[in-house]
Symmetry: C3
Subunit: 215 residues, 3 copies
């Protein structure tokens, strides 16, 4: 019974991560298309966005080669996503609504998974939380650096994105520290991050700008 | 006899790689000069272009310190190249013709060497091929990111560059997988990539742009 | 007596490094504020500037997780610095004078520490010196790449910055090679780099621009 429950929770987690990979890859491929990069550029930016955060995390904890290079499931999913978007331009209705929700789901799950992996590598709780956040936002930063932009997560005209990831990662680190982490408490932490992100989007919550930068 | 043949093939391989390092370093130093960076900037961009791909590959497979830092031959060659280009501006006739051929030779040999090194590190064939391509194009990406540009290999107005590298790397991975890799078959794979690249240049083959990005 | 002297020298070294971390973090946070990034952007750019050089060095020598993630002193100092600068805009008199001196002190000490760490990892003297310089300037490069600029250290309108770091790192590598490195000789090497940097600033020493880039 408990085992079945756990495996159901794990399936939700896996399914959510796959949703996240696809929406991250889509965001990279769409940025590439908007910048008029070619098919190869769409594939590279799609993969960098979907896999970049995990690759940076794995490099930082010394887990080489990074998981993205040994388990090719996510790489394949990213390539297929980029290929589909090469042929079909998604309508704004899709990119505004469902894709943003999928992106939030990916954000929430990656910050939890990233924290768990960093913790398993023997890092302390604060560091594990930082690396969990890095896992969730690193791909987007890589996408923006490669396309010659200041990373979106750093820009003040954006709704909160990194902070929900940090929230989910911190919650996970605390759960791990208190020995309360299980498949379902992890999923709750992810859900918290997803909800936080969607609320930030809905109500346009921004991080504050320094007063002296405002003038 | 076979040993002599092998060592001759190896010498061709080494010579070609050195040609490649020099032309990569030249491309970095010339970008730096065009962007009006100083002597130090020319040295840094030259080294980053010539060594960056191999450094990224070595980090990803956990081979630290990267070979570029322990065997200083290529670093020295890159620095000398940058220094020469500080004093002498090459005529466009040189940069258009011979330097582009040398660059193609470097591209072809680095994608093969990179794949072989990744394979020796125990990675599967598809991953080894990806890392082989990364070895060949990574330096140029680093050059462009450091000089504040969208990487050339991602731009649609460019002739195919990464695809020939991927072709050479994939061929090498297949050869390794089938246990057919030898010094001379590797050189053939490299020659294929070089030829592919030069044909792309000659006939201006481009990767396609998504139709919805064209308007 | 000798032990007391050594521990006094070490305290100076530590204090200087902390000064350097704070001034590096301040430079990152101030760039972020000038680019109108929000509080999160100021924190990220502050930390990247203060810790980036050491993180890159640790990745290159295979020391994972990087020291910046396991000893959180410098991370905390960087975050506090960014937070203070969020509330208080420093007067130009402070940023021009004392902060630049503190920055030079950080530069000088980091190039020495970086070289010592790379040497302890078993790298040869030239490589250790290169990594020492990377430690000192890497954070600033990361700051500039993340804020969408060509790295300051590569630009010709800047006073020498990387060269003093390379000078300090090379001196340290030579001291280590000759078995003459001690706490106080290391501090002398750092002082040399600091002095070199401050003189470059005072007398506007520039690296030369290639003649063909000048027209």
């Amino acid at each position: 019974m408990a085992a079945e429950w756990d495996s159901a929770v794990n399936m939700v987690h896996r399914g959510g991560e796959m949703l996240g990979v696809i929406s991250f890859a889509a965001s990279g491929a769409l940025v590439a298309a908007r910048k008029r990069l070619d098919l190869f550029g769409m594939a590279v930016l799609g993969c960098a966005t979907a896999l970049g955060g995990g690759i940076v995390r794995d490099l930082l904890i010394g887990r080489t080669p990074p998981a993205a290079f040994t388990n090719l499931t996510y790489l394949t999913a990213s390539l297929i996503t980029a290929l589909i978007l090469f042929f079909i331009a998604p309508s704004p209705r899709l990119t505004k609504g469902p894709l943003e929700v999928a992106d939030a789901i990916g954000l929430g799950l990656f910050c939890v998974t990233g924290t768990v992996i960093a913790d398993a590598a023997g890092l302390g709780a604060p560091t594990a939380a930082l690396l969990g956040m890095t896992t969730a936002i690193g791909g987007g930063v890589l996408r923006d650096v490669l396309s010659g932009e200041v990373p979106l997560v750093l820009r003040p005209d954006q709704d909160l994105y990194a902070i929900p990831a940090l929230f989910g990662a911190t919650t996970t680190a605390v759960l791990l520290h208190l020995d309360l982490y299980q498949a379902w408490t992890g999923l709750l932490a992810a859900a918290g991050a997803v909800g936080f992100r969607l609320l930030s989007r809905r109500y346009r919550w921004h991080a504050p700008l320094a007063r002296h930068a405002r003038e």
